[in-house]
Every structure is written in structure tokens, then in C-alpha cells.
């Protein structure tokens, strides 16, 4: 396709269409509304359904319902809406329903500043719902990445039968950049897995031999039960600890075994580096600029841009920071991803650069940290 000037929110919606999304349910909220607006226009063109629900709780419920019916489905919101969706995100994790939740982050807590950027939902993406479960969360740092990572989000959701959260931020969502989108027919799509077994043998939560048993859509002759209660392999509620443990082991195992393809990142100049900068989202843009400035001044700086935030790329960060004295973690919050980096590399190595006032982190603030001035 020819180059276009487009917002991150628009690119996200186009990525969803390209990935095969045919159902969107959402509720208006700044700065994610444009995703819904594009989906409202685009989905009926491809025989898909768009619906504006009465709130974010209903939106999350509706996309799970549609996914149970076999549709690739998505919702888009911002921090306050993500908070409301949390119970049903937990349901999708428990019932292993593939779906994509876009969170265009804005400054919180509460109503905060709706049009100001932030990265304050990083921890909410992993720990927002109650109970233990793995999650996949991806963070784009450009308009093109908004498209690409939305496609990746759908593919991971289908392949691993899990909700996937796309953690954009206000700058990425509203920024316009020139992008060249691929021909949608060439976009790699993962489709819902099929089963070879007849309905009477089908177990929607079978623990062996595969980690991700196929989820057959309702209405195709495989009548079974889905619940948010802990369940056995057939999906029926269970109170047996051994059955709960089998489920727990498998849902963590399925993500762990997929790490080599789930963990997306760009690493540059790590081998010779003394200082490492770990960044994501729009902050990675400032960080990259700061790294280049520092290199021009003769400093050996490595740059690790995380595109996958959850599961946290422990081994990637551990390896990158092996011979490093200082790890700079800039982020538009009071230090959320820094907690994970500190957990892996040790607290003394980490220099946090934080802003949670609606302002972008400027390259010179990161540069000062690289040079040990803060």
C-alpha cells in the first residue's frame, strides 16, 4: 500500500482488521475513542460487527462472548476503562478465551488528565484482576508498531488462548506518522485451532498432550461448558486441588514454552556497553535519542527496547545487563517496569527516570541519568 499519514489509534484499528478481527465492542474514552470510530466504519465493510456497549464492563464481556462464538474480537479503552474491565479480563484468563484489549494509557489515577500521556497501567495489565494467571502485554512505540503489534496481539491470543493487552499510550495513540501498511492479504494470521476428535471425546481444557487445547466455537456441534469457576478438563466446576493445580500448571506452562516467540524486543549496542537503557512505548523514542547523544559523546551505551512487557523478559534483561554497571529505566510513571528490572538485575544498578505529571520524558533527562548526573 502507498504511504499514509495516520494516527497510532487508526493504525491499531487497521491492524485489527488485517489480523482478522470481526467483532469490536467498546465505550468512548479519551484517548482511545478513535480506535472505536475506525472500527465502527471499517467492520461492516468486512461483514464484521461493531457495537458500542453501555460501559467497559459490558464491552469486555461482549468480546469474550463473541470469541466464544468464534470471532476474533477486540475492545479499546484507557486506564479507567481498563480498571472496569479487570474482572472479565480475569474471566478470559480463567476460561482461556482469546481476545485483544487495547489500553491507550493516559495520566491517572482516577480521571487524572485524559489527554495527557502516561505509562501508569503497566502493573495493572499484569496484576489488575484478582488471582494468579499469566498475561501477554505488548507496547508499541510508533504508529507502524501499533499496526504490527496489534496483529501480533491477535496471533498470540489465538495461539495461546489468552487475553492479550496492547499497552499503547496517549502519544502513540494520537501521534501521526507516515506509515506504509502491508497488503492485508500478506499479513500472517493465526486462526483458531481445530480438533480432530468427535464431540463426545472433546475436552476444552485438556491438560495433555498439548498445552493449548483447541477452543471450538459454540454452535459447531461440540456442546460443552465454560465457567469462571475452577474447572476440570471438560470445563465442569471442580473443588479438587489436584485439578486446580493441573490447570494452573498448564496455563503458566503454555506461555513459558512460547517465550521465544512471545518476547519481542529490539536490542542494539549491548555487547560493548557499559550502560544500558531499557525503555518501552513513547518513552523509548526519547530514550533512543538520548542513547544516540550519549554515543556521540563517546559513551558506550546499549539500548533495549521492550515490545513485550508481560511476561517480563527476565532472561533477556538479565543477559543484557550482565556486564553493565548502570541500567537506566525511563518511564512515564513512578517506577513500575523499573521494579521488574530491579528484581532481575539488582536494585543498586538501576537508575530510574520517572515522570507522572502528564509531561513526556525529554532526552536530556535520560542523558543525565546515562551520564550519572542523577
Amino acid at each position: 500500500m502507498s504511504p499514509m499519514l495516520m494516527q497510532g489509534d487508526e493504525a491499531c484499528a487497521e491492524g485489527a482488521i488485517a489480523a482478522g478481527c470481526r467483532f469490536f465492542a467498546g465505550y468512548p474514552i479519551t484517548p482511545a475513542t478513535e480506535v472505536a470510530e475506525v472500527m465502527a466504519r471499517r467492520l461492516p465493510q468486512v461483514d464484521g460487527f461493531f457495537i458500542q456497549m453501555e460501559d467497559e464492563i459490558a464491552s469486555m464481556a461482549a468480546i469474550i462472548g463473541a470469541a466464544v462464538g468464534g470471532a476474533k474480537s477486540m475492545t479499546a479503552t484507557s486506564g479507567p476503562g481498563l480498571s472496569l474491565m479487570q474482572e472479565n479480563i480475569g474471566y478470559a484468563a480463567m476460561a482461556e478465551i482469546p481476545c485483544v484489549v487495547v489500553d491507550v494509557q493516559r495520566l491517572g489515577p482516577s480521571t487524572g488528565r485524559p489527554t495527557s500521556p502516561a505509562q501508569g497501567d503497566v502493573m495493572q495489565a499484569q496484576w489488575g484482576t484478582h488471582g494468579d494467571h499469566p498475561i501477554i502485554a505488548l507496547a508499541p512505540s510508533s504508529v507502524k508498531e501499533s499496526f504490527d503489534l496489534t496483529v501480533a496481539a491477535f496471533n498470540f491470543a489465538e495461539k495461546y488462548r489468552t487475553p492479550v493487552i496492547l499497552l499503547m499510550d496517549e502519544v502513540i495513540g494520537h501521534m501521526r506518522e507516515k506509515v506504509e501498511l502491508p497488503d492485508y492479504a500478506t499479513v500472517e494470521r493465526v486462526e483458531r485451532a481445530q480438533t480432530l476428535v468427535p464431540p463426545e471425546w472433546y475436552k476444552p481444557y485438556e491438560n495433555y498432550p498439548v498445552d493449548v487445547p483447541p477452543l471450538i466455537p459454540f454452535g459447531e456441534g461440540y456442546r460443552y461448558h465454560i465457567t469462571g469457576l475452577h474447572h476440570d478438563e471438560r470445563g465442569y466446576p471442580t473443588e479438587r486441588a489436584d485439578e486446580v493445580n493441573l490447570w494452573l500448571d498448564r496455563v503458566f506452562r503454555k506461555i513459558r514454552r512460547g517465550l521465544s516467540e512471545i518476547l519481542l524486543y529490539d536490542a542494539d549496542g549491548i555487547d560493548a556497553a557499559e550502560t544500558l537503557v531499557v525503555a518501552y512505548g513513547s518513552t523509548a523514542r526519547s530514550a533512543h535519542y538520548a542513547v544516540e547523544l550519549a554515543r556521540k559523546r563517546g559513551r558506550r551505551v546499549g539500548f533495549l527496547k521492550l515490545k513485550t512487557l508481560w511476561p517480563f523478559p527476565e532472561e533477556v534483561v538479565d543477559k543484557a545487563a550482565e556486564r553493565i554497571h548502570r541500567v537506566v529505566v525511563p518511564e512515564m510513571n513512578m517506577g513500575q517496569m523499573a521494579l521488574e528490572v530491579e528484581r532481575v538485575v539488582g536494585r543498586r544498578k538501576v537508575r530510574r527516570v520517572n515522570r507522572a505529571d502528564g509531561q513526556l520524558i525529554k532526552p536530556d533527562e535520560i542523558l543525565a541519568a546515562i551520564e550519572g548526573m542523577r
Partner: protein, 282 residues
């Protein structure tokens, strides 16, 4: 209404034998009666089980789907209609039955209830109204009568109740009917009609909870409460023209509305045609 299969044949055909019985409900509970009415209604319509989904929220009624051999989805508290909306749009050919209790449908799920009715999305909602939260032990619900005692109203309940069916009519449902677990053949007839109706249909099944709120108010055992449903209810026709004070405490049974409005999916199909035509013209 005659059923196609005999009673034992119906059990065999519609209940899950891979699911361990007995069920979670207390002996004497009305929810099983509603479940029986639903499967006999389905049977009378001779529908393919593969094309039926039963969706529930949380609570005693929320446990209903696990026992029946349909496509069954037990969701979060209050959200069954929102899950059902997504499923129905992804699978417009399916008959989607949504079973909820009064707290599930009207308190935590009240917003979804009125909006599903307003939207006229093609779903069948069956609300089992036992006027309390049975599973958690008899707290007051949006339909608990004023003055009753409940686990969270030890000095008596001061809030007036919702009237589920009237609310559904006002919000835009195309078919709304109310009956009780005593009037089971009538209930079954209403459910069958609701399933066939295009648009959002609601059947309110008045039940009781003798083990929690019934006990707290000395309303008697299950048979006593069942008898009260019989003696305290009148038909819509009998209620016509009666002054309001004569209807206090009475259950008015019957069809409250049966009207035609365009359904959501039919209207959306027109949107798809328009969007495609405009995209092609561009």
C-alpha cells in the same frame, strides 16, 4: 402445549449425563422447576441442541447451565446479557437463552438489562425472581418486598422493590411475560413463546427461597411458599380495571407486552449493506 418427548425422554435428551448430579440447589427450590420448564419449552419447539446456548451470571440461578446439554456459558456476576450480546452477534443463527436471578439481572446487571431491552437484541432473558440473594445467605435484593427481614436488613427492609417485567416493558423488550414456579405449564408456554420471538424477550419466573429469606420471615417451608404463589397471584385479565390498592402484594401473571420492533441484528445487516456499497462506490 404438548411436548414432543415423554418426561423421561426429555431428561435423557437435555440433561448432561457426564455432569455429576445431584445439583447445587436446596431440596424444594424453584430453580429446578424453571429449568424443567425451559427444557420442555425447547423440546416443544424441536430445536437443534447445537444451535442453543444457555448463558448465566452468578448465583443459584447462575448454576443452571452446567446441567443442560446445550452450549453453556457461566459468566461473571451481572454480565450474562453482555456476554450473550457478543455471542449472538458472532453467531446470529443461535438461540441464546440467558438465565439470571433477580440480583444478577437487576442489581449488578441492571444496566445491561435495560440496554439489552432498549437495543432489542435478539436474546431470551429468563429471570428467576426469588427476591433475595440465596447463594450468599438471604441478603436483600432489588425485588425484596419492603418491610421484609433479610440478612442485611435485620430491622426490616426500607427500600421499595423493582418490578422486573414492568421495567422490561418500559425499556423496550418486545415480549414480556410473568408467571410463577407454581404455574409451570403457563411458564413453559411463555418461555416457548419468548424463544420464538424476534427481538429481546423477557420471562419473569417468580420463585421463592425457603432456606434463607423465607426462614427469616417465617414464610413457611417450600410447600407453604409455593401455595402462596398460587393464592397470591391473579392473571393480567383479572387485574384489569382493579384499583391499585387491591393489587398490593399480588403477583400479576400473564403477557405484559407482545409487540413488533425491528431487531438489532436485522438493522445492523442493513448497515453492512450500506457500508459495503459506500466502500465500493469510493
Amino acid at each position: 402445549m404438548s411436548t414432543i418427548h415423554s418426561e423421561s425422554r426429555i431428561h435423557e435428551r437435555y440433561l448432561r449425563h457426564s455432569k455429576k448430579f445431584p445439583n447445587v440447589w436446596c431440596a424444594g427450590c424453584g430453580i429446578g422447576i424453571v429449568l424443567g420448564a425451559i427444557i420442555r419449552a425447547v423440546d416443544s419447539l424441536d430445536l437443534d441442541k447445537n444451535d442453543i446456548a444457555m448463558i448465566s451470571g452468578i448465583g443459584c440461578t447462575g448454576r443452571m447451565p452446567v446441567y443442560v446439554d446445550f452450549n453453556t456459558l457461566h459468566t461473571t456476576h451481572g454480565r450474562a446479557l453482555a456476554f450473550a450480546t457478543g455471542l449472538k452477534l458472532a453467531r446470529p443463527g443461535m438461540k441464546v437463552l440467558v438465565v439470571m436471578g433477580d440480583g444478577d439481572a437487576l442489581a449488578i446487571g441492571g444496566n445491561h438489562f435495560i440496554h439489552a431491552a432498549r437495543r432489542n437484541i435478539e436474546l431470551t432473558a429468563i429471570v428467576v425472581n426469588n427476591a433475595t440473594y440465596g447463594m450468599t445467605g438471604g441478603q436483600y435484593s432489588p425485588t425484596t418486598p419492603q418491610g421484609a427481614h433479610a440478612a442485611t436488613a435485620p430491622y426490616g427492609h426500607i427500600e421499595p422493590p423493582f418490578h422486573i417485567s414492568e421495567l422490561a416493558v418500559a425499556a423496550g423488550a418486545t415480549f414480556v411475560a410473568r408467571s410463577t414456579v407454581y404455574h409451570v405449564t403457563e411458564l413453559q408456554k411463555f418461555i416457548a413463546h419468548a424463544i420464538q420471538k424476534k427481538g429481546f424477550s423477557v420471562v419473569e419466573a417468580i420463585s421463592y427461597c425457603h432456606t434463607t429469606i423465607g426462614r427469616m420471615n417465617r414464610w413457611g417451608k417450600a410447600p407453604d411458599m409455593m401455595r402462596r404463589l398460587k393464592e397470591n397471584s391473579i392473571t393480567v385479565k383479572q387485574a384489569e380495571g382493579k384499583p391499585e390498592d387491591e393489587l398490593v402484594g399480588k403477583i400479576v401473571r400473564g403477557v405484559l407486552t407482545d409487540r413488533e420492533r425491528p431487531g438489532y441484528i436485522d438493522l445492523y445487516r442493513q448497515i453492512i449493506e450500506r457500508a459495503k456499497a459506500e466502500a465500493e462506490a469510493a
